[in-house]
């Protein structure tokens, strides 16, 4: 079956599922449940050359220099749950969004079997959501969070959203609240855009393990988690690596090793705190990305969110930022004119994934019903480097500032 035909079949199935979901009600007696979510959004950015993206799994969006587009936030997904007896459940979720290759090809977000031998213990196997998003769990469910999108400075650098593997979670009462522990292991699923020509950094076959401890109470929630991955495949710049390794260049093999990610370990530590009491809600989170490769430098990221509900409106303030430690790597290649292209490429690779930016966003959520919300957001970003924002040929050299305006309609059904 061709890719186009497959896409049409999956889109038709999505539309059919949506039709059924809209008519379906939950029932204790019925074993299945169909539900869905989606976002229709438009985003506009002011600065030339700095294309706005919500994460590294999106191709360049064209949202820059006074141009807008709907591809940043627009998405739709459906989920089917089927109860297989008292202890077993099957779950499948399909999602269509703007992807790393510039297409909207639907993909399997997750599909797993869940086994709960005890009301406190759950084991799952199959394609699972990567549960490293504190206070959001998934970045695709626009309706479930207050801002237009989870802070890209904080969440946007994670290049995968699922894994093929197993997880186990255990939840137990803690005084009047609950404490949850979860551990997971498997092979990562995810692709990040590597260049404007459509090359992708593929995380397939990369072993990934992680765990978190979460306190769930009223009004406080808190989470501490750590995830580690050993990347199986290198960045898609094979000619570059080959020239350094096999070109007989002094220092070439050493530079290739410094810029390689294959077989190297990367870690993600995150801690978060949430508060919701009456009309007030607040979130605070911090993370550290640890790296064994100079092409994906380590960075710290954080965000703070404050919202206050006034009837159907919830105005909010979101502050976020990310920063890589200062470093000025040199290639170590001889200063030969014939090596200038390699030197230039190495310099770009050292810089491409640095983070140094801050964002201030103001917005409001308007709940039209308990199924639909409209959000308007204005944000001001300034910095010098971003792993998420896409710098095209018109990008300024050095520091940049940009203003981003967004309007979205989120819904669940």
């Amino acid at each position: 079956m061709s890719a186009i035909l497959k896409t049409r079949v999956v889109l038709a199935a999505l539309c059919l599922a949506i039709g059924v979901a809209v008519r379906a009600d939950d029932s204790l007696d019925r074993p299945w449940r169909l539900a869905g979510f989606g976002t229709l959004g438009g985003t506009w950015a002011s600065a030339d050359g700095i294309e706005y993206r919500r994460d590294v799994t999106q191709a360049p969006t064209g949202v820059a220099g006074g141009a807008g587009a709907a591809n940043v936030d627009t998405r739709i997904g459906v989920q089917f749950n089927y109860q297989l007896g008292a202890d077993w459940e099957a779950v499948v979720q399909a999602l269509s969004r703007y992807r790393y290759d510039g297409s909207w090809r639907p993909e399997l977000s997750w599909g797993f079997l869940s086994y709960s031998p005890d009301a406190a213990l759950t084991l799952r196997g199959g394609r699972l959501g990567l549960d490293v998003y504190p206070l959001a769990d998934s970045t695709n469910i626009g309706y479930s969070y207050l801002p237009v999108r989870p802070a890209p400075d904080y969440y946007g650098g994670i290049p995968m959203q699922s894994l093929n593997g197993l997880d186990v979670s255990y939840i137990r009462p803690l005084v009047a609240d609950a404490l949850k522990f979860k551990a997971y292991a498997g092979l990562a699923v995810g692709k990040a855009t590597a260049d404007a020509k459509g090359a992708a950094f593929d995380l397939a076959d990369s072993p990934i393990v992680g765990a978190y401890l979460e306190y769930q109470g009223e009004p406080w929630t808190a989470r501490l988690g750590y995830t580690q991955i050993r990347v199986a495949h290198d960045l898609p710049f094979h000619d570059f690596y080959d020239a350094l390794r096999n070109g007989g260049i002094p220092g070439g093999p050493e530079l290739a090793e410094r810029l390689s990610v294959e077989g190297k370990h990367f870690g993600y530590l995150s801690v978060s705190l949430g508060y919701q009491q009456g009309a007030l809600q607040a979130q605070l989170a911090g993370s550290h990305f640890r790296s064994d490769s100079e092409v994906l430098p380590p960075y710290y990221a954080g965000f703070a969110l404050l919202g206050y509900r006034l009837g159907a409106l919830t105005p909010y303030l979101l502050l976020s930022g990310a920063r890589s430690p200062d470093s000025h790597p040199v290639s170590g290649l001889p200063p030969w004119p014939m090596l200038a292209p390699l030197e230039n490429t190495a310099g770009k690779m050292f810089e491409a994934n640095l983070n140094n930016l801050q964002t201030v966003a103001l917005g409001t959520r308007w709940d039209l019903s308990s199924y639909i919300a409209i959000k308007l957001q204005a944000e001001r970003i300034h910095g010098a480097h971003s792993i998420v924002l896409w710098s095209n040929d018109a990008a300024p050299v050095g520091a940049f500032k940009t203003t981003v305006l967004s309007a979205v309609l989120d819904f669940v059904f």
Binding site: D26, S116, G129, S138, I171, Q276, G278, G311, A312, S370
Partner: protein, 146 residues
């Protein structure tokens, strides 16, 4: 000037919490065969927010919600239990449901359906107006309880 006044009025309407109504006398009920005599407010919160999936006697819990079209019960239940609007509760469950971590409470269309489901399922737990509860269920928590 009239346009400005109209716009200000519309804005105030947006800010005004929807569905103001007299407080209902809501109670939480379980199946009479359940060994649980009383639930605390924290128990009810944790069960309805999916944090705990067992009743205190060890029975697997099956929380039952009322649909929004059934009247004021659902809105008042969550407002008085958690001080949250239904849209906030829906957003909370969307987060858990679509990350495959938990399923929201089953939706019953009417109070009669809640009573029937609780009567037929040993682990079921529901909320109804006190005046509607009958011999098919047993009251384990009153919304005025601390």
């Amino acid at each position: 000037m009239a346009v400005i006044r109209l716009a200000a009025l519309c804005f105030l309407c947006l800010l005004w919490p929807a569905g103001r109504a007299w407080a209902l006398d809501l109670v939480v009920v379980v199946n009479p065969s359940c060994a649980v005599a009383r639930l605390t407010r924290d128990d009810v919160i944790n069960l309805y927010m999916g944090r705990l999936r067992k009743l205190p006697d060890g029975t697997a819990a099956r929380p039952i919600d009322l649909s929004t079209s059934s009247g004021q019960e659902k809105q008042q239940f969550y407002q008085r239990l958690l001080s949250r609007d239904l849209s906030e509760v829906r957003a909370y469950w969307a987060r858990l449901t679509f990350s495959g971590q938990a399923s929201p409470p089953v939706q019953a269309a009417t109070t009669e359906e809640v009573l029937s489901l609780v009567h037929r399922n040993p682990g079921a737990i529901g909320y109804v107006e006190r005046s509607r509860s009958d011999a098919r269920v047993r009251i384990v928590f009153e919304l005025g309880d601390k």
